[in-house]
Amino acid sequence: MTGPNRRFVSTTVEVEGRVETRVVEVPAVTLAPWDADAALTHVGARAQRVDGLLKAAGRAPYTTDLARPGMAHAVFVRAQVPRGRITAIDTTAARAMPGVLDILLAADVPARTRLFLPDVTYAGAPVAAVCAETLAQAEAAARAVRVTIEPGEAAITPEQALAGAPVRPGLTSNQSGGAPKVRQRGDVDTALATADVVLTREVRTPCVLHSAMEPHAAVAEWSGDALTVWESTQGIFRVRDGLAKALGLPVHRVRVICEAMGGGFGAKNYAGPHTFTAAVLARRLRRPVSCVLDRAGEQIDSGNRSSTWQRITIGARRDGTLVAIDLDAIIPLGIGGWDGGPGDLFHELYACPNVRTREAFVYTNTGAMASFRAPGHAEGAVGLELTLNAIAAELGLDPLVLRERNIATRDQKQDRPYTGNRLAECYTEGARRIGWHDRAGRTVRDGRLRRGFGVAAQVWGTGGGPPSYATVRLNTDGTADVLSGTQDLGTGTRTILAQVAAESLGHRLDAVRAVIGDTATGPYSGNSWGSITVASLTPAVRMAAEEARRGLLEAAAGILDVAVDALETREGRVHVRDTDRSLAFGEVTAKLGNVMIMGQGARGPNPSGTGIVTTGAQFAEVEVDVETGVVRVVTIVAVHDAGRIVNPTLAESQLEGGIIQGLGYALFEERALDARLGLPLNVGLHDYKIPTHADIPVIDGHFLDGADPLANPVGARGIAEPAIIPTAPAIAGAVADALGVEVSELPLTPWRVLGALDGASR
């Protein structure tokens, strides 16, 4: 390979709804995009998940399953009050208990870990860690630690926080940025004044918990001055860098591994208190240490989706054209997190020249928010879509027709075109699948069991982008490895990477293996978040595999004594075009001995001046028992345009998963807080209800055929977050349709449904 002629340029990348400008590298090679008609063998195939059997056999190595020789166990002691100052911690009794090895307090940890700070700012905050030979011993000793906290004034609600003193040291205002975040395009007030119809609605959405089945977990082990950490994470490199920084270590002495992980959904993006605790204890004790959150810790202290209060005003013309959208929102963040609010979606889902959002992000003395699958958009969709339904009713328009009249054909947030937006087709196909246009005959508005239908739409930036790297190497027997520092959360990343590499090499799928989840072996790839992994990483894999293929062809050309361009690869063999001469990859590589054929791939920048989004529409049919208030979702139809689908089976799994989480958001899930202590009252999975098998509707998930060759050379976009956004508003809309009464607050528990009915009959 000749010295690459690289450049560094700026590009915009959208992550978790946030647009960032970054300097990136333009790879020397540009790939001709696979367009919609490209003849592909492995990409687009329903290949089986490569680690499916490992999981079904109980052999997938999760962090919580690791048992390193001599491994000790650490657990946290947590504050039971929301605000105060630690005045004493008595560990005497705990230290004398069987098996106890060490107890960590603030003085024992590097300041940058910010562990066990004397100022308690939310109930559930770790104030000490106890380490023992066994988990049971550590838990018993943790209960014997006596913590004295001088209580302070806490702000549990945003109203209390806005009226009170700073909820944590260092804050000057309990509002992020000191004031609401206001964004406006056009002139909302003037447009509202001249609209034919103007409606205002108030909508509330609940605080919900990620509730991954595998809790946050880290196992740390030192070898000399080098640290290895196994972590259940969405981002091995971010955990590595977080550890290096907090512990003051050079990055190359920290290795982070995540082979298998039991769900993240946004809560596992960084090194956390458990990570630092395991690492510090492992160094002090000179033995491996595991720190796994218990279920209560997981539910209280690993992040949440913020609740929202939204007041939405929409103005429209009589024909349904939207002329103004206005949002006023309060978003309690808890003690930390970032400004992920409902507003973003209001600026982009519907074509509308005048949009204003005013979002107050308020810190309170409760657990911090963390990104949760489509942060902000899932919340915003509830407010926006329910208000749009009200507009439709007011105008006597079908809610679907109203939406079809207001499709955003351009990226209005940045005033630029999209690489593609086939939302109109999603509406049409979804309506056909659920029988939207003849639903009248199936709608039931009297008797005990009512039936109704709802629709909602979705947009989410899924372009991904650089940096993301991969290496593809051919082994001596002709098998191939894809190396990349990404991780598989259960989405099927391993499978997808193997498919793209097999396609680009012209190899058999079973001869390609993805080696991921280890910062020591794979080149950098970013966090698996924001629905960007496929779009960010697969172009790099394709580039690496094509480079390796060129090397293989050059070697084969020498052996076969033909020109390189007389050769092609198919299913693991190099063929001389138009002849029956061929060599298996293994026959070529065997001749090379240990000469390695390797390719390097880097993700190039996104096209400038275009927005890259996944769009889609979901339709819900529900049945409501008006005597008990119980809602049963009968059917969800989902149609999305996510560009090329690399593996339809895996994409459907993810789509169904998002829909089912959205169903929980619509009907069951709500963190209930003790008003005085700010402690969640429903910390267990028994009281905090996530959907179970009994709750699952018929789900008809569908992706539009095609590809988005303008977005990236593979033509793929993401689906993880798009899947959840429209579900709750579609269900809520269907419930309202069934009852003939608007609903304004999620989750639609029986008492809220009965309350909505009561309110209407009064």
Binding site: Q48, R49, D51, G52, L53, L54, K55, A56, A57, G58, R59, A60, Y62, T64, D65, A67, T134, L135, A136, H210, S211, A212, M213, E214, P215, A260, M261, G262, G263, F265, D294, R295, L489, G490, T491, G492, T649, L650, E652, S653, Q654, E656, G657, G658, I659, I660, Q661, G684, L685, H686, I690, P691, T692, H693, A694, I696, I699
Partner: protein
């Protein structure tokens, strides 16, 4: 005490209060059985005790004295998977896979009782096994696929 774990006798003297889950994972090294909550709420720790689906985080190891315990490792392995495990792979019934062993053990108990379970029967039997990835539709399909295979007799 003596119990049978995946067909092999195990003689042990675990601490009196040790949950079966800890005994299996720590003493026997059988980590296929997962700890999702440790309080009987998630089903990830489901094993079979004398054929009955049991939450091993709530059962005491000593309570299984003289009984036969089957874990996911005893159902089948990568080189010799059980029909149910094969069906889970074929239907993509494991996303993150953390709930999967528990789902499979609950399904094993169901199929031992009912050869041709309806969709509703599968859902009812597995409803104590939570899944946050939302793999439910594919899990139900996989269990019914395995049941069909087992009925025709080409099971592994």
């Amino acid at each position: 005490m003596r119990l049978i774990v995946n067909g092999r006798p195990v003689d042990a003297d675990p601490p009196g209060h040790q949950p079966l889950l800890d005994f299996l994972r720590d003493a026997c090294g059988l980590t296929g059985t997962k700890r999702g909550c440790d309080r009987g709420e998630c089903g990830a720790c489901t094993v079979l005790v004398d054929g009955e689906p049991t939450l091993s985080c709530l059962a005491l190891a000593h309570g299984c004295d003289g009984q036969s315990v089957q874990t996911i490792e005893g159902l089948g392995d990568v080189d010799a998977p059980h029909t149910l495990q094969e069906a889970f792979v074929a239907e993509d019934a494991a996303q993150c896979g953390f709930c999967t062993p528990g789902q499979l053990m609950a399904a094993t108990a169901l199929l031992a009782r009912v050869a041709d379970p309806s969709e509703a029967e599968v859902r009812a039997a597995l409803s104590g096994n939570l899944c946050r990835c939302g793999t439910h539709p594919k899990i139900v399909r996989a269990v019914r696929r395995a049941a069909a295979t087992l009925r025709t007799g080409d099971a592994t």
